[in-house]
Symmetry: none
Subunit: 419 residues, 2 copies
């Protein structure tokens, strides 16, 4: 059975155009495999009455309510007070949270001011949820048979407490989660995958499918209808998974939730290989994506940001006449960039990107979105030409993902390596 | 006086983790300069009762309500029906919308099926708002002195009707916004700023302050209470702004909403200077942040990702004995990285980051979060030592922002280039 939750997001910045509210998507995605669904989301400003009103209404409808934001140290952070007022419970200082905060500020060489200290207060009777990514703890509040989770607004802190405390707690409540499977696809768009799985009636009856697309990677979730017996559900799901594998082949890059960068990192670690990069239009985004991952120093060497054309010549040895004749955005220049990055950084693989991210710089012959991606190894280089249809940010993102997928497929070898 | 609007977004995909709801940010941003503010946003699934309930509640609170999504041709597009039921008005086919749709499908070589045709229906008495980006028209509905705008869910169609019909209509209604001011601060935390402005009772009465913190930059908004006369409100706000300037000084980096990277880009453009980078623990994040900005090629040269220690030696000329003696995370290594990046890339400034992002690699002497940031110019290099208290992602983000602020402060004090 699916159970309903609601989210109340607080923060003027989510309503005045400053910030994008990503909590609903994150939470919807995280709750799904546990058999919960987000039934409504409400965003209100930093206003005690509005917060209390929205939480009260949510609690009248469902048994699980998430409240985000407004836990910081400033005067407009009023979520604690709003909930305390509404529940008629005082705020109390949590000793463990205060101690963690003291350590945090001491390490940073910052003072524990009264306003900072106020972040250690929680609603009386709540469980404080330690925050490894920031100062203010989360809270789990039990009230009249309902559960409220109160989480910080900054997405990394929200995510940390969600992962460390909320999802484990919900999983431990057990009961409802239908059997499900999550897997990841690269190199195929959502409509291609739909075509292969749905239009072709590939999946067995009773199996529902959901997609979550990001540039260059697609998360696919299979879930069975709740009316099936557990054994039957598991059998159908296994059948669906085998059929999806047959239909999608090497495009499946992981049998669990994982980014393309994480998959590449795993393959590099397993193979004991290293990579170096040479970036033009992405300006460091590929390197940043790879070094986001803890432990990347074992397989990432470094590289070159050859943004100005002279640097393609001076740092990467691309001959001036080649640049002149072919242009910086071309197959042979991408090839040379990848080869040189590999050689100068002493890596097994060199990965290069050169393109026109936009909005300016396009011509009839070389339009905005045209990108060349090269992968070099000891045997030479392979170059892929792509034309992305997006804006600057999207084209850069796609370029990085396409480069990662090129390396992933090479590392995986010819057959799919998914078990 | 500021006038309040609400948004009701409909669509299961906004709640189950599939899509990111961007309407609230778009709308909040578009309404701000017209003196309207988004007071609440509610997301509900494709369910007639839930949609009607949310719209009814919004209409009870404010005079302007936006409803998005559920105007397509499929069975789960029920917004039209939900509104018709609730308002007790029939749906009628709009002749102009139908004709526009016929032309649209003809051009695309697609058939006008009954389900597609159903998109031309609007609530009786509504004004149809032509949609240049898609099939379904928007609607403007007048009801009991309230105005409802009904807009399609796809962001490009939502935006097209917003720009073509909604914003012009709102602008024609006139009225004024409460005076407000936004400014940006770097190099001080939210609680430091709070101490200086609030604890010190720096601001005049009737002025409210709100903070929106991101790593390394802080947006501050001053607004006056609505009870003040317009002239009085403006006078208080100007007084508050002058007092904030006096209290925060050079930490204020912009008198409008702007990222630190944008501020640095603006300073570089104005000064006619260029920058190059050398990154270790940030692995490309600084370069990526700078090249996110369109037109960065005029002031960003490129740089080095010297992640492996041998590359600090081979690419950046850091002497092996220096690395051995001082360690890669040290003042003299950061200095040498910045100087070499500047020289080899032919830039006016070299900006380098070397540190321990975590979670591994820390020691008692050099703990996780310790970062050295160096800025080199023709006169030598300046090095800043910082210790950030966050997780890997946060420490990397802080490192980039601190580096940008170092360059910003230098540029703000530098004379503009001549000629």
């Amino acid at each position: 059975m699916t159970r309903a939750a609601e989210l109340v997001a607080t923060g003027e910045e989510l309503l005045n155009g400053k910030s994008l509210n990503t909590h609903a998507r994150e939470l919807g995605r995280a709750l799904w495999p546990l058999g919960w669904e987000l039934a409504r989301e409400t965003t209100v400003p930093d206003d005690r009455a509005a917060i209390a009103d929205a939480v009260r209404q949510a609690c009248a409808r469902v048994g699980l309510v998430f409240v985000t934001g407004g836990l910081g140290p400033t005067e407009d952070d009023v979520t604690r007070e709003a909930l305390g007022d509404w529940l008629r419970r005082p705020l109390v200082e949590d000793a463990a949270a205060l101690e963690a905060m003291r350590r945090r500020y001491r390490t940073a060489g910052r003072e524990m001011t009264p306003s900072r200290r106020s972040q250690a207060r929680i609603v009386a009777g709540a469980a404080a949820l330690p925050n490894r990514a920031g100062a203010a703890p989360g809270q789990r509040i039990a009230w009249e048979g309902k559960t409220l989770f109160v989480l910080p607004g900054p997405p990394n802190e929200f995510r940390a407490i969600l992962d460390d405390h909320v999802l484990p707690w919900l999983a431990a409540q057990g009961g409802g989660a239908a059997p499900r499977r999550i897997f990841m696809v690269a190199g195929l768009g959502e409509s291609d995958v739909r075509e292969r799985l749905e239009a072709a009636h590939t999946l067995p009856p009773g199996v529902a499918i959901a997609y979550c697309a990001a540039p260059g990677q697609l998360e696919i979730r299979l879930r069975t209808a709740a009316e099936l017996s557990d054994a039957e559900a598991r059998a159908r799901l296994e059948q669906a998974w085998q059929q999806a594998r047959a239909a999608l082949g090497k495009h499946i890059y992981a049998a669990e939730r994982r980014s393309l960068a994480e998959a590449v990192a795993q393959e590099l670690r397993t193979a004991g290989k290293t990579v170096a990069v040479a970036e033009s239009c992405t300006g460091g985004l590929l390197g940043a994506r790879l070094t986001d991952l803890p432990g990347s120093s074992t397989w990432f060497r470094g590289g070159f940001l050859a943004y100005a054309n002279e640097l393609k010549e001076n740092l990467l040895g691309v001959p001036a006449d080649l640049l002149e004749r072919e242009g910086a955005v071309s197959d042979p220049v991408a090839r040379r960039m990848a080869e040189t990055a590999r050689a100068r950084c002493g890596a097994d693989y060199g990965l290069a990107i050169t393109g026109i991210a936009g909005p300016d710089g396009g011509t009839a012959e070389k339009p905005v979105g045209l990108v060349f991606i090269a992968l070099a190894d000891a045997n030479g280089a392979e170059v892929v030409r792509a034309h992305f249809p997006g804006d600057r940010a999207t084209n850069r993102e796609w370029s990085v993902q396409r480069a990662l997928d090129l390396l992933r497929v090479r590392l995986a070898g010819a057959p799919a390596a998914v078990g």
